[in-house]
Point group: C2
Chain length 434, copies 2
């Protein structure tokens, strides 16, 4: 009888799983499983030539969301779809009234995109839950996994949660040919009530996002984990350079008002200004159109794009002012006029939480992974979530720094390392709070 | 009876018009008439908004050619259309076996072109004949006025006369939607027999073309007459710059292989190389395409056009070699590759005849017109005619240097001055030979 009771006690102890420090320290995600799930997810929306078009609101997006929803249920999550079309899976904590720890990312992609951007974060989040579930680890705080709707088309799902979705966007058609509102309805949301998904500031303990770097810094420096310092703000301008279109044969070099020459000087000035200041700001001229655009006509007009990204809005402003000064010199040198039109990107810098950063760093060190702090040059759902509470981001290496391309790749080992860091950061924050 | 005979003698003398130096010195074209004819010609192909689309082989081109043919007949010319569609008007000389003096230009235009390019030369040529006719001046040499077919679409009529028409062009559709061959048939030629219009080298005494400058040198320097030293050769290259397309947010400045930055450096290098050497050569980057062409992607590929024009083929070659050297430096600086593809333009430099140039100069001085020598940066029918004999070109000022545009303008005074120089150059060459 005593033996029987002792056996029952052990059984009950195992069942309740009052986990100890040493128990959770040994916890690791299942590398095979997470990578298998990523591979399965990658089949949704891939065409016969190996290119993927799982754009938000497409039939392929809907099918892939169904696959992920099932994975969430299989991991024991209580799932629902909010009015914005976000798929939310909740796992209760010991204190179900306490603030949740939220983590997740997105699975929609740019046309001809890759299989890792966003997907690693979603599969990583589900793998964390699955790992906790298998080992019967119950956290103090509730956990929430979110698959955000339409990240690539303007962080729609996360900005709805952050409470500042630009509702003008709901009437705009996306690349699938339906409006954002119709798309949200198609994936189970309700655009008429989308305002209701906004969450209060301070309503979460933390938000964490595991993501591929989309740059080549980690790979080049052979570092396992990037700890994101913040997500850069993005500002765009259309720059119109007006010269004088003229016959390329009959107009002597010293009588030209060549908008193309001015555009060349401007492009170099942008590069020089961005490089002239300490820091990791970037500036890009990515689009250019010259008119009339014939080999035998001096261009009278060039329109090009200017993009500046940095963690500081103030620094972006200073860099832009330096570029404006250089533009004035170029106007004088070339006899052209240079006009700037600021375009709204709804993208502002978002810094990550200091304590979350240090937690990620110590977790990575404990796991034996090298790590470094770095900005995120790309926008992410975490940028929106930062509006309502502290956020952190975990980067893993991207092969060749390639992203938004079928060539996107992160190794199974790197993916597992990232998920392990996510897992233990959640457990640390759950224990220590913020 | 004596009085009657004397009167008859005077009558006969007037009829035969054995013209003396002093007779012809006083000869002037009719300024009103030439400008009225130009104005009438400009109505063919003009739409209600004032834009003109008298492209070669269009119905409007056919109608305008009919108008000019009638003017030629009214001026007493014996007219015919050759197999290339050139309209040729002949006026016999005292020595009908001697080599003709040929002069003319074209009336076809680029889409949305102007009313002076080519037309001034054709109307000027007919006005010269009309003036000689009214005053019963008979030259020693036969005179030939030619309205060349399709100048803007590749100097088709004049290159056929020069005997080196690229017959591949006959199968190519022009902007009106019909092939060059069909077009030639439409205007009265015969593409099957076009080879027969080629003339022998040395078969003409001289070819003269009156034309608008299409540049702003004469206007800026307030000079009446430009004496063309030669017509520049034109060479074209497609320049392909290959870098690496990448995320504009996640790729640090020092890890970029930015094809746009390389294109900017290249455009400036072209300008610097062209300006680094004495002379009136010109170099232009007129067309540019960046891929993928989004504000948030570093361009991986830029294709741009390079055009160099000069009177010397050798100088063009040297300039291109200098540009190639600079391109190699830019490749190293930017981590890109720059490839050149030479495109055929069938355009080679053509120098004008020294004696014709000095004749134009002395004629202009005698008429009280200021003049200067200058290259022609644009191609002309005279360039083709230079293959079969000595050529000369007379330029008049273009307002604002504008050409190939509805804004094209030369004043009635300048047009009359140009026609007077053409008239007296013909008479001088007719007297003195070459």
């Amino acid at each position: 009888m005593l033996m029987k009771n002792i056996a029952l006690l052990f059984f009950l102890l195992a069942l309740v799983n009052v986990y100890s420090q040493s128990d959770t320290e040994a916890l690791r995600v299942d590398k095979e499983r997470i990578n298998e799930n990523l591979t399965k997810l990658s089949t949704f929306g891939r065409d016969s030539s190996g290119h993927s078009y799982r754009v938000a609101f497409s039939d392929e997006d809907v099918a892939a969301r169904g696959f992920v929803l099932q994975l969430m249920k299989d991991a024991g999550l209580e799932t629902r779809i909010d009015y914005a079309g976000n798929i939310i899976g909740r796992r209760d904590g010991k204190d179900s009234k306490s603030k949740p720890i939220i983590f997740g990312s997105h699975i929609d992609m740019v046309p001809d995109g890759g299989d890792y951007d966003g997907c690693v974060g979603v599969m990583g989040a589900i793998e964390v839950i699955k790992t906790l579930d298998e080992r019967n680890v119950v956290t103090n705080h509730p956990l929430e996994v979110i698959l955000f709707a339409n990240e690539e088309g303007g962080v729609i799902g996360s900005s709805a949660i952050a409470g500042h979705l630009n509702t003008d966007l709901l009437g705009e058609k996306n690349i699938t040919g339906i409006t954002m509102g119709e798309g949200i309805r198609k994936i189970g949301g309700n655009p008429d009530r989308i305002g209701e998904v906004a969450r209060e500031k301070g309503s979460m303990l933390a938000f964490l996002e595991l993501h591929i770097e989309q740059g080549a810094i980690l790979e080049n420096e052979q570092i396992d984990i990037g700890i994101v310092e913040g997500i850069v703000g993005i500002e765009w301008w259309d720059v119109t350079i007006t010269g004088s279109a003229n016959h390329a044969g009959t107009t002597p070099m010293n009588m030209r008002k060549d908008a193309m020459l001015a555009a060349a000087k401007f492009t170099i000035a942008v590069n020089e200004v961005i490089n002239s200041v300490e820091g990791r700001q970037v500036g890009t001229v990515g689009r250019i159109k010259a008119e009339p655009g014939a080999p035998n006509v001096i261009p009278g007009k060039v329109v090009l794009s200017l993009e500046i990204r940095d963690l500081s809005k103030e620094k972006i402003r200073q860099l832009f002012e330096m570029i404006q000064e250089r533009a004035e010199q170029i106007e004088a040198e070339t006899g052209t006029e240079i006009a700037f039109e600021h375009l709204s990107t709804d993208s502002y810098p978002a810094l990550t939480d200091k304590l979350i950063k240090s937690t990620i760093a110590s977790v990575a060190s404990d796991l034996g992974y090298s790590h470094k702090e770095m900005p995120s040059g790309a926008g992410h759902d975490a940028q929106e979530m930062a509006v309502i509470g502290p956020v952190g981001m975990i980067f893993i290496p991207s092969k060749g720094g390639i992203s938004h391309s079928p060539e996107e790749y992160s190794s199974p080992e790197d993916i597992a390392r990232g998920a392990n860091v996510l897992l233990h950061t959640i457990l640390e924050l759950d224990q220590k709070g913020l």
